[in-house]
Amino acid sequence: MNEATLQKVKERIEALKKLPGMGEKSVSKMLEDSGFTRRDFLKWSAAMAAMLSLPTSFTPLIAEAAEVSDRLPVIWLNMAECTGCSESLIRSDAPTIDNLIFNYINLQYHDTIMAAAGWQAEENLKEGMEKFKGRYILCVEGGIPTNMDGQYLTMGPHAETGLELLTRAANDAAAVISVGTCSSFGGIQAAAPNPTGAKGVYQVINKPVINVPGCPPSAKNIVGTILYVILFGALPAVDNFNRPKFAYGLRIHDLCERRGHFDAGEFVEQFGDAGAENGFCLYKVGCKGPYTFNNCSRERFNQHTSWPVQAGHGCIGCSEPDFWDSMAPYEEPLANKKYDSPLADATADSYGVTILTVAGVAIAAHAALSAIKNPKE
């Protein structure tokens, strides 16, 4: 990270400072009231800098970015989803500094945790979108149904479809962040046979979208991405599925606590066996860690308490596109995949039909040729 980048970020924060803040009190005051010291806050900033793969010299800047975070309003839309991502978000690190910051971020509209309701909420959404046109960060949770013109999901007093609302909101957004696998890649709704025609946000709008997949993604990844946008005024470096590299750069397998057992060839052969008791590698009971890019093994969940692999169940690959179809069955290694998902069947069937048709044509042609040839003999 060179001097020029640092300078650019400083300039950006200065520019943001000039904009009017939305919070009732400053971040430092708010943290103080909630029982956190300045030291706790800086510790959090350092951890956040490390997570965003930034050098430690960025720590004071992260703190500053957090302090101006209320200058950029956030609008959070809920589409076809289960609210699991919001759930993950609201229980971020205890004693929830991430969370305090998130609530301090000027959250103009969030269907589940905002104070307003009914018509008032609709008003807030409308007002937020007009007042902060071109400035707000749009976070989307949930897949977007597209079949029947999106009628599988309608919202609000005017029965607007999810697709219409998203298009409207995305047009004037400074940045669009897909939170969770559903909004990133369609998610469970988009699994075969995809009755509602659900799609990821990037597939239905004409704008760069940053994907923060996971079912649910960890709160750190959500807050980290939003802070990055504030800090740099741009989207972070991403991989080929538009996932921020700071979170999705490595495979689950790379930093897994059971990795040593994989290397030593020590596996759990079935749940509850001696291997399971000894915490061996879960590959043979279906762990998809070797194919999944995410930071769960490093950041864990619920205040760094645990994560599925620690509790003895393999990774299901939830931050990968189409994992509902491509990673199933979830309790068997991908290597023994029998191609028995409905989607695979459909593909196999259509190939089969094509091959048979080609064969049929060939047989008919052969017969015709023979018929022509035969009289000559």
Partner: protein, 387 residues
């Protein structure tokens, strides 16, 4: 007649109420306009996949869906599980109920009367601790898959059980201090009713508990439950062709809880009794969890391999919002048929004026100003409803 349209959001999705009547509610229709189709994805998938897919019905009570799924598969396989696995499952499922009630109180219903962000933080403080307790056994919350047919995948040490017990004790002490004590005194609940009458929202006064559990008695057979389409994208659930209320109030009344009975005798099944029952329930559950954790024998196996069989089964469990029913048919290791009936389908069915559902009955003849509070006292979950 004038029909008022009201959108109820912040219920993990939204519902549309079509209200007939100007000042007093004459009749109300409840509509949900979302559709997921979870049951469709399950067809032809490996039976184990249901364990990962079903929790995604709902991110709030996904653990109950996991519990129901694993139980229904075990019923088909006639599987046995160890007492240790049984206790762990019970503990994490009940913790989910405790967490749900706290979030419902402070995030869903509280803002209809009191606009103060502090209460949101209070809910978050509790729910973070509770999910941490669940994560010790289950790996993460929401959306884990640590229950498998035959037991659980985790194998905790004494150290982890100690941490868990400690955390539960802390949660319980804080609950008693900050939310409600054993004598049902709750400062926050009284504050909620400062400007709201306690005797509104009386419903059908018919209660149903279907779940098989060690802590709640049931009073019905889930085989008598029938689903029926209504005008929107949701389905109504009826028991013997009648509507019943499910949930914490039903659990308290059917189990003859003395404390709630006292309040019930004064206010009948009003909004106040319903809210009291829901806020009081975590105290009973936390006691039970503490007792169960002291019975854990860590030397028992976590998992006993079941034999895969073909067949059909149906089970009910008690979820945060009431009785949750899962039904499965397995053929050659694949799911042939799956059906889910969620508690919200009982409470928030949309029926006729002559034969109203619990929520409709509670709203009818009430002042239109109270509609938000009364509707939410049933703890609605729109994502479950639109599974």
């Amino acid at each position: 007649m004038k029909i008022n349209k009201k959108i109820i959001n912040k219920i993990e999705g939204e519902a549309t109420l079509k209200i007939e009547g100007d000042k007093k509610i004459d009749f109300v229709q409840i509509e949900f306009w979302q559709y997921h189709g979870i049951e469709e994805y399950l067809k032809n998938k490996n039976y184990m996949d249901a364990l990962v897919i079903n929790p995604r019905v709902c991110g709030i009570c996904g653990h109950s869906h996991l519990h129901a799924t694993v139980k229904v598969i075990e019923k088909v396989f006639k599987a046995k599980i160890s007492k240790k696995a049984q206790i762990f499952r019970e503990v994490t499922s009940l913790l989910e109920i405790v967490e749900n009630h706290i979030k419902w109180f402070y995030i869903t219903i509280y803002p209809t009367q009191i606009k103060d962000k502090e209460y949101l933080f209070k809910a978050v403080k509790f729910s973070s601790k509770i999910s941490k307790a669940i994560a010790i056994l289950a790996g993460q919350f929401p959306h884990n898959s640590y229950m498998v047919p035959g037991g659980v995948t985790c194998d905790p040490t004494y150290m982890e059980i100690m941490r868990l017990k400690d955390l539960i004790k802390e949660i319980k002490e804080e609950y008693i201090k900050e939310i409600m004590d054993e004598n049902l005194t709750s400062h926050d609940l009284e504050r909620f009713f400062e400007n709201l009458p306690k005797d509104i929202g009386k419903s059908l006064n018919k209660f149903l508990v279907l779940g098989e559990s060690n802590i709640f008695k049931s009073n019905g057979d889930y085989k008598n439950v029938k689903e029926e389409r209504n005008k929107s994208l949701s389905k109504n659930a009826l028991y013997n062709n009648e509507y019943y209320e499910v949930g914490p109030l039903a659990r308290m009344i059917i189990n003859k809880n003395k404390n709630i009975k006292k309040i019930y005798d004064i206010y009948s099944d009003s909004i106040y009794t319903r809210m009291c029952a829901r806020i009081y329930e975590p105290l009973l559950l936390l006691d039970y969890i503490e007792q169960k954790l002291s019975e854990v024998d860590l030397c028992e196996p976590s998992f006993l391999k079941p034999n895969v069989r073909n067949g059909k089964a149906i089970v009910a469990v008690e979820a945060p919002r009431g009785s949750l029913i899962h039904e499965i048919s397995i053929k050659n290791e694949k799911i042939d048929y799956y059906n889910i009936v969620v508690p919200t389908q009982f409470n928030l069915a949309s029926s006729t004026k002559e034969n109203p559902s619990p929520a409709q009955a509670a709203l009818m003849n009430e002042d239109i100003a109270y509609v938000d509070s009364v509707f939410r006292c049933f703890d609605i979950c729109a994502v479950c409803m639109s599974h």
